[in-house]
Symmetry: C2
Subunit: 514 residues, 2 copies
């Protein structure tokens, strides 16, 4: 009996004939219900933290931006201007950890898209930062502005992505104008929490102005909460380059959020061991975090790591491995040691949206989830270790994320769910429950409905052309793009945004700094 | 630098020139290191347990085998012979739970294959019970004896499968002789813990005799430990059929292990809710468990469940869903309530070894792992909700299981792993760790080496023909079968086994009973 048949039968029952609403679960503000796993005992975590502090004190961090060295020096660090090395004392780090907010209210373009970052919350981002895009119809190519817009629409579509990530680089847009293109798109096509690259103060200031213009924020309102974020990668080992340090300072001074993520590969830019690599990553994250608090105590900052291993036969990066999983767990323990919200990452090294891609991504995802990560980036669409984002993979991974979100929502076991009277005692031995009172009450709302998984039997599936999930995903993303409707915007403010972009473009834009 | 290059460099170092052994991790005896998740509060779990006991007392279980009804009646149950209904009092159930062993030593064909089933241990089985086999070269077909043998070899190959499962039905072997074929194969091609179907006492007694013959076990030695197992599915709701009840009795009386697994689909043969379905499954498992202990108090028996949901639009079974995950968690809480080892299941509804198949299987797998399942069946190869086992999927899923086994092995964070002297302080800012002392010491052993995942970059992968994981898996299973070497056997005992089979075949074999 199909649901439609049950519906017809149900409507015949008179008093119960009111139609059921469909399943509606809030994926926009999630709490992590999964138990957290510890990979190392607490004393070893304390040793790693101590060694990271010792690394900052004794080995130091090469800091290329003079302004950053100046801030570190004013804060009490020993600075060698000749070598650009900064040696950060542990008391400075401890003060920074103390002043960094433990809970960050993130204000999006509408209140239903707001969320809070703190230990215990769970936020997903799609794969980010790829130079290439791929899909089954158009193939793998350098990403374009159109790809950027399409990925933005897909990201907006799935509630389970609470933040916008810079999925692909729109390589056909000139670099001195690219931030106008990506910011305008984020202001017009979505009301989710936006991302801006840190590619020098001129671009960042442009982005802040575009954001406050489009969202109608006063300077005080803007500075009073996090309205956007940037991602800061260190240059492991122990180097903080110019645009990254500048970004930390600029975002902090304006009360906006940096997510610090040393991206370290065990055996290459980091020690070969999980413990060594995470100790290095932790040291680098603490240095960057300290800089934000020197620039503006209390500025919102998210701790983070993205640590996996290389294949020691080839030096190639690997993702979704046991070592990646363990690194996420170790980073989670250190984040809890600090008490700060933090970001981790899933991802895949596969070159196509295949079983490897699915298994690596999901394996890494569970590592992040059981590590208690607050934000999980690269949780959908990421191929080739980040060189490509796939339209089909984004759709397939979003299915897994939706299912995780369903688990966050939980389920009940009260007497109406156990259902001794409404189910168990209604059905005879070897009977079925299709028509039990409990089923009738719930058939339309009880289960998650997939968008790409297919439950047809083999015969039906074969008759329909034996289409695998990868190819079904093409229809899914095309359907989403076809039906896309942007959220309502304030036309006056968007007009002002266009005016700003036209003026700045005429002035020559803002080239990225390095 | 490749590992080979590093090896050459290393050998140049004189004192350190001894070659490193490759990575060798024991996957044969695993403990579950993952934290266990609770989906329901303890009082609701207690309510479910109570409702299950009430179900057995008030609603009863239809028990088709007269001998089973007799045992229940002798044990104090109220039995209605006309309706074949058995009403089991809670004190009988509680006595059975008390006498069932909390820890079961499973003796395989060699000591290195032995394992213990108890809460906290973790054992994997490949997908089981399918009528069809599929692979990319030969297509989907009714399974044959050759398929059975090939799957058996693959199961033997991967250490992470500690138990043999009945992966496919060898449909070209007559049903009255099939158990000779499958038992002989298990005795000759593997020393892992074997499986026998419960299809009537004559077949089961044949299997026990073949096992004791081939393994050289006295009657006392055989009865003294679990040397084989069967799987008992109830006919939900609330029915225990003749071969299943007979199997429970026969295995219990000989000290061999039954794994009880009500296979229930929420919304079809079970209530639509997780709580209702698991309450029903729990009741049925308790009834079957009680029968084993009535037949032989202290007989080894494994609690179990396999509960997922149907798609309410079509009635089709779904696997690897949020409801499936939650059902595993709830069953785990009930198993811990009893203190018994227990079996759960992963699986996929996909019709081909695609991204859906990977994602469903792994999603269900994590549900089982976080539920603390002792045995996870259908953890590799299972397609179409169990109608087909795929050679390629088995290989791909085994990769995930190996990675889980790696996590069971754990990792260290002592001072040599943190490596302040041997790694962190050896490498300059923006340098690399390829040649650090710590890397030199560990490059050959630190990371898991995959058998089907490929870390080549896009260019290399494309040059090699853009082969996806599914197609690479074909080469993997063919390679394993090509290189297969069976463990050593005692030729005299195998000769006796052949003699037994020849005699019993001449006598007409043993048709399955139903």
């Amino acid at each position: 009996m199909t649901a439609a048949e049950r519906g017809r039968r149900r409507r015949g029952r008179g008093a119960e004939a009111a139609p059921q609403p469909g399943r509606d679960v809030n994926y926009r503000q999630l709490r992590n219900p999964f138990p957290q796993m510890e990979v190392f005992p607490a004393d070893q975590i304390a040793d790693m933290h101590d060694t990271a502090l010792r690394t900052l004190e004794e080995l130091g961090v090469k800091t290329l931006l003079p302004e950053a060295r100046k801030l570190f020096k004013q804060g009490g660090a020993r600075v060698d201007e000749d070598t650009e090395m900064v040696f950060v004392g542990r008391e400075m780090v401890e003060a920074a950890v103390a002043s960094a907010p433990k809970s960050i209210a993130c204000r999006a373009g509408s209140r239903r898209r707001d969320f809070t970052l703190e230990l215990g919350s769970l936020v997903f981002q799609p794969g980010a930062g790829a130079p290439n895009a791929t899909d089954l119809e158009r193939g793998r190519r350098p990403a374009t502005g159109q790809d950027y817009l399409e990925f933005l629409k897909l990201t907006h579509h799935f509630d389970v992505f609470q933040m916008i990530s810079p999925q692909v680089e729109p390589q056909d847009v000139p670099t001195h104008l690219r931030h106008y293109f990506t910011t305008r798109a984020q202001m017009e096509l979505t009301d989710k929490f936006p991302f801006f690259f840190s590619r020098g103060t001129p671009q960042v200031m442009d982005c802040f102005e575009m954001l406050t213009t489009a969202r109608g924020l006063s300077d005080d309102a803007f500075r009073g909460n996090a309205h956007c974020y940037t991602i800061i990668n260190t240059n492991s080992p122990r180097t903080l380059d110019i645009p990254m340090a500048q970004g930390l300072i600029d975002f902090a001074r304006h009360g906006q959020m940096s997510i610090i993520t040393p991206f370290t590969l065990m055996g290459a830019m980091a020690p070969i061991t999980v413990a060594g690599a995470i100790t290095l990553s932790h040291a680098e994250a603490l240095a960057a975090l300290t800089l934000t608090q020197l620039a503006n105590p209390g500025a919102p900052v998210c701790y983070g790591t993205f640590t996996s291993n290389v294949d020691m036969k080839s030096g190639a990066p690997a993702f979704g491995t046991p070592s990646h999983f363990q690194a996420s767990l170790a980073a989670g323990q250190l984040a809890r040691h600090l008490g700060l919200p933090w970001r981790s990452a899933a991802g895949s090294a596969s070159n196509t949206n295949d079983v490897q891609a699915a298994n690596e991504n999901q394996f890494g995802l569970w590592g992040c989830i059981m590590a208690g990560a607050t934000v999980i980036i690269h949780s959908a669409g990421w191929l080739e270790g980040g060189l490509t984002v796939s339209f089909e993979k984004l759709v397939c991974d979003a299915e897994v994320l939706n299912m995780v979100a369903e688990l966050c929502a939980g389920v009940q076991a009260g007497s109406s769910e156990i259902g001794f009277e409404t189910a168990l005692s209604e059905v005879e031995p070897s009977g079925h429950f299709f028509a039990s009172s409990q089923t009738m009450e719930r058939y339309n709302t009880e289960f998650y409905q997939p968008h790409v998984h297919d439950y047809a039997n083999f015969g039906t599936w074969a008759e329909r052309g034996s289409v695998d999930a990868n190819h079904r995903a093409t229809d899914v993303w095309k359907g989403i793009l076809n039906d896309f409707r942007a959220p309502a915007v304030d036309n006056d403010r968007i007009g002002d945004l266009h005016g700003f972009i036209a003026r700045r473009t005429a002035e020559g834009g803002a080239p990225p700094e390095s």
